[in-house]
Subunit: 352 residues, 2 copies
DNA sequence: TTGAAAGCGCTAACAT
DNA sequence: ATGTTAGCGCTTTCAA
């Protein structure tokens, strides 16, 4: 059973013309069949479909892009600072339904460029929409510059914004709130927090969720319990040292991402502090790392792949229908309990 | 300073015609300038270049693909089983110099398809070359089917093969040999080995390197010290349990990749076996994980990004010059010593 | 050394 | 319901 496309005598792939000839119709009719457009009589349609099948014809994306109103190309922009694992997930999600939406995805790096330069780059790439993962999603100038040129942009995990831009996000603040509440319910009172890279606005949102939960439970969100970090494992090492050097040691550490949480666990190991018996550590993101360390990490699952999938769907709707019911998609996060959290040590269950 | 492309009055990007008009030459001349082709008088050339700069013109890749002999598109094929981190690295490397080679990279998933179906898919995608990461690189049928259709394929990290196909690889066998020798030099005699996914031929090569090193040093590569795994963290957990349950426990474990090594460390932690004081563990690949666990992992660094970069260069040469001096590129690996290896325990340094 | 003509494979805008 | 006519932006002939 040959799935392979037939080739005309000159060794080229079949074109729409070959299909038209074989079906005895005009190329336009074939085009309509392909695009499920306007009305084609069932009889003609099936003749064309037979010819397509017989020739194993598939339209050329390139020719379509050139001839069509070119609203089929979208770009996934990224900076070198984005980890390849995150980028890989985004890519897989986007690729996943690019074909369904008849969109062609191009991946473009835009390092060190000014907002204007990036707009130029995007225009040259002939794309009509872009996906902006962090930290690009929080770059107001860029978003406005793109909007000024009528290039649709969908931000992945940006700060909440008032303008009409498209966004895909999880509720970082509420997720952090929930994780903190979870720790408090476990019995923790002294909870340390390791902040994320300040360039990523998500960091601020997570911190805010932490603070709210602490205050909501009558606990103090004292500055000394909140230490800086930048999402890197290295920074997590330093941050954890600082927290564990505190006069009153926290019984739990909530890190703004998994890498830093892993670092905290490392420091605990080095100091012979048992996790979770003596110290609870939890993270955020649920990267593969969370499952590859010991103890496995309690964390917030962020559906990265779904996010880019949704981003693409949003772009498709925006580009073609010129608008969507809801331009702000909120995806669900999940608190994943694994082995790194427990009740705090030395706290009698009941009575004095 | 506006880098942004000018737009003609109708709001579209400048085309080659606009450039031609502005420079007072024919479009053909502009085309020649762009492609640095044949002879254009320096005077004309500079006039054209001025016009290009003034208009901030950039040629449309789409139009070029359609008009040209289309030898500019290459695909990165992958299966869903490939981890997004690995895929992300490959992608970044490939993207990195796709532009330099004037190649357009498309990323295509090809799951569950037969070799013939994949060939059809590739032909429909109108690409003239493909990059095959593992495990596709070891699929003989596919490689032959592609060759039969004159589609250039470059395999990343395949088995050594006799046919004239293009390959990029590190010397897995020798890397494993070196790591094993390193362990032996440290004083280890009882070394356990966790095998990789048998579908990836690299697994066999690494095992072979291990075996050779053991035998070369008069040690036995007894089957009981060699346990199955499939590259997953989970499988590493089981494998490590088996090794540590052996009547004579190994003093070192060499896992076929980092994930399984991390799993071995986890098991050791659980059994209160100190790594590396009581047990040496090392991995292979040098993924980000190697640096995010404690102790950090001694492993073999594999330059994934460079591999796809080279793959692209190879394809470019092959597609355009129709051949290369050396179709088998060998990249360097590096043994990275971190904290998970040490001399074996309870072995007096000297004398009895 | 340069230019004119003829497409590449498809679709949009009009016919019919 | 179907066909005709023009391109999309560029490159490949071939001619000058």
């Amino acid at each position: 059973m040959a799935t392979e496309p037939d080739r005309t005598s000159d060794g080229k792939l079949p074109t729409i013309r070959d299909v038209a000839a074989r079906a005895g119709v005009s190329v336009m009719t074939v085009s309509r069949v392909i695009n499920k457009q306007s009305w084609v009589s069932p009889k003609t349609r099936s003749r064309v479909e037979e010819a397509i099948a017989a020739l194993n014809y598939a339209p050329s994306a390139v020719a379509r892009a050139l001839a069509g109103s070119d609203d089929r190309r979208v770009a996934l922009l990224y900076r070198a600072s984005t980890t390849s694992a995150y980028l890989g997930e985004l890519l897989l999600g986007a690729l996943d339904n690019a074909a369904d939406h008849r969109l062609h995805l191009v991946v473009e790096r835009c390092d060190g460029a000014s907002a204007e330069e990036i707009v130029a780059q995007v225009q040259h790439a002939r794309v009509s929409g872009v996906i902006l993962p962090p930290p690009l999603c929080d770059w107001r100038e860029l978003i406005e510059a793109l909007a000024a040129k009528k290039i649709k942009a969908v931000s992945i995990a940006p700060d909440i914004v008032d303008s009409g831009e498209l966004t895909i996000a999880i509720d970082d603040k509420h997720a952090a709130f929930e994780m903190t509440r979870h720790l408090i319910e476990l019995g923790h009172r002294n909870i340390g927090f390791i902040k994320g890279n300040p360039q990523h606005r998500a960091s601020a949102r997570r911190l805010e969720g932490f603070r709210q939960a602490m205050r909501a439970n009558g606990l103090s969100d004292d500055e000394q319990w909140i230490v800086p970090g930048d999402f890197s494992y290295r920074s997590g090492l330093d941050a954890a040292e600082r927290l564990l050097d505190l006069p009153v040691r926290p019984t739990a550490i909530f890190a703004c991402n998994d890498d830093m949480a892993a670092a905290a666990i490392t420091i605990a190991h080095q100091r012979q502090i048992d996790v979770p018996a003596q110290l609870t550590v939890c993270g955020f993101d649920d990267t593969p790392l969370a499952n590859a360390i010991w103890p496995t990490l309690t964390t917030i699952h962020q559906p990265i792949r779904d996010m880019s999938r949704e981003a693409l769907a949003l772009l498709a709707a925006e580009i073609r229908e010129g608008g969507t019911a809801n331009p702000h998609v909120k995806l669900d996060y999940r608190l994943i309990r694994r082995q790194s959290d427990a009740v705090p040590p030395r706290r009698p269950k009941t009575g004095v």
